[in-house]
């Protein structure tokens, strides 16, 4: 009996063992993965952007190792640039959408990183535009002093010098000879002849002047202007005046003169 039970259990165990035996494993190599083929795809362009950077567009030619079968219009590459701390700039491209495999085929594609784009620090372009600022000290009005300057022009000192004024010749104009009455003129002519001893026909009266009797320093007749230049002294101030006739000699153009008033 026990032998029969042992055989039965052994059969059950064998049955269970056979039922739960693992499935066959086959290598998928060569079946599911094709050997990759390589093709150069369009260049990726990386451009840097930034507010304070002058970007120097640089293109990086890069062969993209992608399985030919994986290339399809749905693949989109986006170039990105990064500014990291310090002077490190990095650029890379990332694949944002690609169908790598389709039913029955498992494939993969590696996207290699882009070379660093050629970039220059922009500092050198801005060196001439650097500005500096510094704080001005505030005006200390509280302790400021005000000053008053004399703007009024003071009264000048005055001096007296009558002598200086006397040195300047006085220019006398002849009285209007035509305004002198004929009788008076005849009397002046007689006086002139008497004083000079000249013939009246040889004399041409050119002026009749009033000059001070006293203080006369010099008398000159300017034939071009007809003015009599006299220089007087202080005694002339209160001196009475006399009439002087000035005449020219026709024979030699000499000037003669005489007082014509009767004392």
């Amino acid at each position: 009996m026990l032998g029969r039970i042992r055989d039965t259990v052994g059969d059950v165990a064998e049955t269970i063992k056979r039922v739960f035996k693992g499935p066959k494993v086959h290598s998928a190599k060569g079946l599911f993965f094709r050997d990759p083929e390589y093709k150069t795809v369009s260049w990726l362009t990386a451009e840097t952007k930034g507010d304070v950077l002058i970007s120097q567009p640089s293109t990086v030619q890069q062969s993209l190792l992608v399985s030919v079968s994986a290339i399809n219009p749905d693949m989109k590459f986006v170039a990105k640039s990064f500014v990291e701390t310090g002077e490190v700039f990095r650029a890379e491209a990332s694949l944002v959408s690609v169908a790598l495999a389709w039913s029955g085929i498992v494939t993969s594609a590696d996207i290699p990183g882009l070379n660093s784009p050629q970039m220059k620090r922009v500092d050198e372009y801005f060196t001439t535009f650097k500005t500096k600022s510094f704080g001005l000290p505030p005006f200390d009005i509280k302790h400021g002093k005000t000053y008053k300057l004399a703007t009024r022009i003071s009264v000048p000192a005055c001096y007296r010098s009558l002598e200086r004024a006397m040195l300047v010749p006085i220019l006398l104009r002849s009285e209007d000879l035509e305004g002198v009455s004929k009788s008076l003129m005849m009397r002046y002519n007689l006086r002139l002849v008497k004083e000079t001893g000249e013939n009246i026909k040889n004399l041409e009266i050119i002026g009749l002047y009033q000059i001070p009797k006293k203080g006369l320093r010099s008398v000159k007749h300017d034939t071009t202007t007809g003015l009599l230049k006299i220089i007087v002294g202080p005694e002339a101030q209160n001196s009475p005046y006399c009439n002087v006739v000035v005449a020219r000699k026709k024979s030699n153009s000499a000037i003669v003169s005489c007082r014509v008033d009767e004392d």
């Binding site: 009264v155 005055c158 001096y159 007296r160 009558l162 300047v168 101030q237």
Partner: protein, 181 residues
């Protein structure tokens, strides 16, 4: 016009940066009776800036003229100034008419003493018989009656002497002060 007639000729000139003035007093015949002059006034740079264009009129019309008039005890009957200086604000307390006289080339007026008013400030006046009339110019603001009173004196004084000539003499005397010796 009496023997006591006193005519004043006021001149002020600028020499380099300095101003100086002179006052020539004459009698009715034009004989000098007094001559006063000021020391040169040299305004400071600050004064020049602050006074601006008013500096010269102020100096001539106020400072120098007042200083000279103070020296004259009795006010003159007439005070003659240069026509170009009439823009100055002459002190109102001169107590005598202030005017400028110039020779003119105008035709003689009818008779001695005749006047021909050419503007509110300018008058032609016949001071002698025959000859060209004198041009008399008054400062701003002199009323006509005051002008007429002054013109009366001008006619009287001009009968005896050439009223223009002493002004040239006063200038000449002043220039001798600044000429190098």
């Amino acid at each position: 016009m009496s023997e006591e007639t006193r005519l004043a000729y006021y001149v002020a000139i600028k020499e380099s940066a300095s101003y100086l003035g002179g006052l020539l007093m004459t009698n009715a015949q034009g004989i000098p009776t007094d001559f006063r002059y000021t020391e040169p006034i040299t305004p400071t740079k600050l004064q020049s800036v602050l006074y601006g264009k008013a500096l010269e009129p102020h100096l001539k019309g106020e400072v120098i003229q007042k200083a000279l008039m103070k020296e004259i005890k009795t006010p003159p009957d007439l005070m003659f100034v240069q026509a170009s200086d009439l823009v100055a604000d002459f002190a109102a307390d001169t107590n005598c008419p202030i005017l400028a006289v110039q020779r003119s080339q105008e035709a003689p007026l009818k008779e001695q003493g005749a006047i021909n008013r050419t503007s509110s400030r300018e008058v032609l006046v016949q001071v002698g018989e025959g000859g060209h009339p004198l041009r008399v110019i008054f400062p701003h603001g002199v009323a006509e009656p005051e002008q007429d009173a002054a013109l009366q004196k001008v006619v009287e004084a001009g009968y005896h002497m050439d009223l223009v000539e002493p002004m040239e003499r006063a200038l000449e005397a002043l220039r001798t002060l600044i000429q190098p010796k």
